[in-house]
Amino acid sequence: MSAAAESVAAAPAVKQREWRWVGNPLVLLLVAFVLLFPWLPFVSFSLLGTANLAAYYAMVAVSLVVLTGWVGQISLGQAGLVGVGAYVTGHVVRGLHVTFPVNLLWAAAAGAIVAIALGFVAVRVRGLYLAVATLIFSWMASEFLFRQRWFIKNAEVTLKPFGDPDAFPYFDWTSRRTYFYGAWAVVAAAVYLMANLRDSKTGRAFFAVRGSEVAAASMGISVVRTKLTAFAISGALAGVAGNLLLIRDQVITADSFKVEVSLFFLAIAVVGGLSSLGGAVAASILFAGLNEVFFRVEAFAGWLEVVPPVLLTAVLLLYRGGLAALGEAIQRRISPWTDKVSVLLRQRVLPAIAGAATGARRTVASAVRRAGEVPAESLNAEPEPRTPLRRRLPAPIASALARIPTSRTIPTQPRLDLDAVVASARPSQNGNAPHPVETVEPSAPSTDVALPSGAPLTWRTIQLPPVSLAAAREDRPILIEAAGVTVRFGGLVAVNNVSLTVREHEIVGLIGPNGAGKTTTFNSIAGLNEPTEGRVFIYGHDVTTWTVDQRARLGVGRTFQAIQLLPQLSVFENLLVATHVHNESGLLSHLFVGPITLAAERDGRRQVRRVAELLELEEYLDRRVADLPFGVLRMVEVARALVSGARLIMLDEPASGLDNNETERLAQILRFVRDLGVTLLLIEHDVQMVTSVSDYMYVLEYGALLAEGTPADIQRDPRVIAAYLGEEAEPVLEEASA
């Protein structure tokens, strides 16, 4: 069986979009239908007009998919952004005489700028408040902005045709047929670009921010930057939609951009399934088609208004996946047939046609998938990546740009080189986990004893050279230092003058009874609260005022007590998000699938597979997080921190919720992770587990440092015992007659 057929037989557990749609006979039929549509016999003038309306809806719906579906920022104000794009286009056409395709850029820019202003509000307010803010914006736009004469004076335009009527490239935009191709070409381009974006680093950052802002920040993603980017893109797309509207009708009125229209647009996106580009387009066609149907059929007259809210309600309450989920369900039903035809096409028909016909070459997903079919060795021979745009700029501009403070001014620490570490491993003698650390001089030579080929390299099958720690703790280099940290919440002193250090290659445990201030101290180091007094140093930098994502760039990763993974995505996709910091590709490269993006994607995926192999998570890679047991998810969070290349991992109650066996295994894995070269800091309530794993421990009580030392010292310290069990007390009760 050929490679292609084999891939079909091994049905993937999680959607592999590129496989489903490319070469899929349904899709080809659809494309053909769309290309021939204006010429088909049954297509009347008004039907064509409806199809053009659908293009306009589709553009707005896509803008909502990006903002609300992918980043989770509810927008009830798209109509305002669309209106801005439309009116600005009017100015540009009449005032500056810019013709159709070019004036799209102006509309996009206008929409993006206004959207970014909204985005600044979004950064400060959450969830439903953001929804209201956008609603108020939409209201203000229709009551104020779209009534100002200076703003709306160019609402009517005459479109100059492009080219010469007698020569070939002649586009008369007032012709519905021409407009059809133009508008849908724009929609197709937008969908193509957004699809690339979704599968790239930017798209993953969007999903991460939607799922858990804290976890996203802990992987180095700047939440502010991500949200503003999303608003900008969504605004640009909405602006383009406004442009399309003006070109279609050659006149616009403020009625098209009222508050109710914003709600209507949201309904389209929700019915489409909110996160799906295909669904958005399908829903747009549906809603536009409803116009046509309701005009034709007498009995339905007057009911058109009711349908959108009814559909919205139905989808929201009954079938939240919307048309996208419906499409997937249908796809699953008919896939046995369509897959067979697809294979035939791919093997016989398509290779004969140049790659451009399928469009497969230039999407990220398919390019990477093809890379997966390439033998493993050639993955190591990476193509020479071109230097990013920024570095190719002339020196004065580049240095001026460099002076704009961004999170990139924090030097990204080099990634922990797992390949080098694993290369120095030996096969494990008796299948046991590696032994605890020894305080001896580094001496173990690395012997290149090969494992049986094909055998996986996991924490169980390999043994790493023991990590050596200097005998005296003071001689070990300091990675984390908390100096006199005090945290006050209102009148309450949660942490009182706590000083601690974490030294290289150590495993440090932070324990204490309930309410002792462990979590607050941990959060001060992680960046989730700012100490009232005292300072925090990581790798020698004073990070006291740094944000979480800035600290992540220093090579600090963390896990969470309440699992912060993205439940609807697969383990693989969740882990891939963590490659964010070391992925050098930029937004343009994501949109147009530049070679930097391809190289970064390959590298990231290899990193994920390497870590998954080490932690024995390979069997779970394609499974959805929501379907997996809790113990596995704890491991996935550890894996995620490793994928980010962190040399310093902070763990928040990693054993919580695990039974005895799982806790056991966790302890062994933590020791293995340390042997990989990672330093660990953990807070835990399971004192037994912490003492078995730590090199050094700190005990807090009532917000202050009670004791510190090796586990053996701590366990025998009477003050610690008293802290946990309380003071000895005289029995008060008489013998009960129980």
Binding site: T68, G69, G72, I74, L76, V121, V123, R124, V125, R126, G127, L128, Y129, A131, V132, A133, L135, I136, F137, W139, M140, E143, F144, L145, R147, Q148, R210, G211, S212, E213, V214, A215, V223, V259, E260, L263, L266, A267, V270, L274, S275, G302, W303, E305, V306, P308, P309, V310, L312, T313, L316, L317, R320, N523, L528, N529, A562, Q564, P567, Q568
Partner: protein
Amino acid sequence: MARLLVFVLLSLPLIGAYAIFSLGLVVIYRASKVLNLAHGAMAMVSAYLFNAVSEAGLPLFAALPVAVAAGGVLGWGVERLFVRPLRTVSTTAQTVGTVAAFGLLVAGAGKIWGTGGHGATRVFPEGQITIASSGIRYGDLGLFFVMLVVSAGLYVLLQRTGVGLAMRGAADNPRAASLMGVNPQLATSGAWVIGGSTAAVAGILLAAVTILHPVVLSLQAVPALVAALIGGMGSLPGALIGAAIVGGTQGLVPALPSLQRIEGSAQLLLTLLALGVMAARGERYVATDVRGGAL
């Protein structure tokens, strides 16, 4: 001096309507942590019902309670059908649910009663009082007085009765309420009934002095939303202060000649104020602010 009077008189009905709306919004928000974007639509439907019932012959003292009760039922219905089922997703999703309810109510009203606006049955008699050289209609003054009555009534209900105590506690801490024997779900439904009824009152009175129209009347609640936001969403006095600010601004602007020519300038001012207040109050995300899932 005359100008000041004009401004005051113009603002009174606005403040009255917005105050009643935003009181209802705050009661609902405190109980459910949801912003009821269907509030205006509930008011609108109740106003139409009142009009229909009055025109069918029912006298005022019967038609009013019927319409207000209908508002209460609408409130209960929106919570039961659009908000509660989405409780496992997020409060944002629930707020979008109220958007769906808004759409349905507006579309439904348009279908049943037509989308052209028309005059509504009056509650207060025709005519106006003349103060200095300006006049104010009975209906407008009535709005303001009813607002005072409603505010007082809500205060008594919430602060001085057992039921009110139960509701306030359930809104404050549903788990503790549960442990004290109060069913928090029942308390929440009660809050929505109050919200719907007060919205109905405002809708009926407002329609009488403006217009009965599915969309226009519903959108009158948007300034009330701004008022509630400015007042902080957390307290009833705050809602009243917010309403005073918003109503005052909308009354003030037409009275100032310089701003008079700029159409919609009041709305612009209010938007900037609302966004400013929200942006100033927002805080950096904290460890507990995490929610997964779509919408």
